[in-house]
Subunit: 236 residues, 2 copies
DNA sequence: CATTATAATTATACCGGTACAATATTTCAA
DNA sequence: TTGAAATATTGTACCGGTATAATTATAATG
């Protein structure tokens, strides 16, 4: 692990362990420099990372402060890791409806930069949270990147397998969402009535090298889906 | 404007003007250094900024590439600037239902770190996009920060006024959202039927110094609200 | 005592450098 | 021609420094 990541990790841990509240001040840069015995730019990098994660905010001339959102029951929309890591507290489980190696739909091919001849793993699941239906999910994985999937992997965390098992590095993702009414199939899977509200989210996941490897379409049970996002102003 | 912002701006302009497509390669760091006559770290900073904005992605050992999402009709959820800037293409207008200096609700006070004795501007609007209802919005502004509002300001872009008129610097924001069914009042304002789906978004806007100055509750017309988010993996 | 000017604190911009890790290209052997 | 090994390319980590902008604390002033 890199120095600046390690330091960011320790600072975050320090905040958690001492349960510092929103607005509380952290030691100043110079103190942190000495404490961790690294240069200013390394500390700065650590703090930038924590700022991106929404853990702290910095004010020139003033200091470094704890940023804390945290409403209970909300989950992050931006975890580009599937869920798992977000929802450790919550108990998320999956029921696999379908797992098949097949040709992509036109839509999937477009979003994954594939032709209709290429191979994709198609995964259809229903996910549960604390016994309730959370979402209904259809995913297409580019077979030339995600070379293998099986029932066991798919019923656990696919992303964990992608990172640890396959050694792939997940980079950025493009997320598109809208609200609509449940159709019959979705309602069926979620145990709701057709016509009830849904949050529909399409995500295209990319590796750090920019290759899209997963196109997924998720329909959320509106009763279970409360999300939060932490935004930071990249002005200009 | 700072050097690295200026450079970021020019690079982005270059991409737009030459309408570079997703995956196209930009000049390498050293070329950019020479071209803009700045040090490596400044160029790096520019590119970090563009990476945050979702304009480019960088691959070590390979290069700097254009990242392009852009589906038409989707608007960014993360614009912590109200809308306006996002939706320049779209025509957004507002009808002010109510504008009043009053005491905050308990909820507003909590989210703005105020007491029930403090003053807030309360703004209630319906916003339209291309003639259709886009959303119904209730906002509370901390009077001690946003010292003045009037009908004219509120019917235009409040955030533009906050930045330009008041010289305040908008920093980060916490966003909470869920999906539900429209109640009677909301349905009325949006011209939909009660029980129809809604996207409900609460946002707490902060200045760069961390002070929350605006708590807003927005209910979107599900037919008009398609959003995108560009996420980047701050691992660890 | 309140206001203003001055100084100290603190994060950020920017420079220029070395080392290194990930990727791409070329070379060479089989 | 294929594949592996060597080399070049390219972005990132990290160092250490100076200067500056925003804020906070202190001193001076009326």
């Amino acid at each position: 692990m890199l120095k600046y990541q390690q330091i960011a990790f320790e600072i975050e841990k320090y905040i958690e362990d001492n349960s510092l509240q929103q607005g509380e001040k952290l030691p100043v840069l110079e103190t942190l420099m000495k404490q961790f015995e690294v240069s200013k730019s390394t500390i700065t990098k650590s703090l930038e990372l924590l700022e991106k994660k929404g853990v702290v905010f910095q004010v020139r001339g003033s200091g470094i402060f704890v940023r804390r959102h945290k409403r209970k029951g909300y989950m992050s929309l931006l975890s580009n890791q599937g869920f798992k890591s977000d929802l450790e507290d919550f108990h998320v489980s999956s029921k696999v409806i379908e797992l098949e190696l097949r040709k992509p739909t036109q839509e999937a091919a477009n979003n994954l930069n594939l032709t209709l001849d290429d191979d994709v793993y198609y995964v259809k699941r229903v996910r549960y949270i604390n016994g309730q239906t959370l979402c209904f999910e259809e995913s297409y994985y580019n077979k030339s990147i995600v070379t293998y999937l099986n029932e066991e992997i798919v019923s656990e965390s696919i992303f964990h397998y992608i990172r640890e098992g396959l050694g792939l590095k997940v980079g950025f993702s493009d997320i598109f969402l809208h609200v609509d009414k449940l159709n019959k199939e979705e309602a069926e899977y979620l145990g709701l009535e057709a016509g009830a509200p849904k949050l529909y989210v399409e995500t295209i996941f990319h590796l750090t090298n920019g290759s899209p490897f997963d196109f997924s379409k998720v329909t959320y049970n509106y009763q279970q889906s409360q999300f939060f996002i932490q935004a930071t102003n990249h002005l200009l």
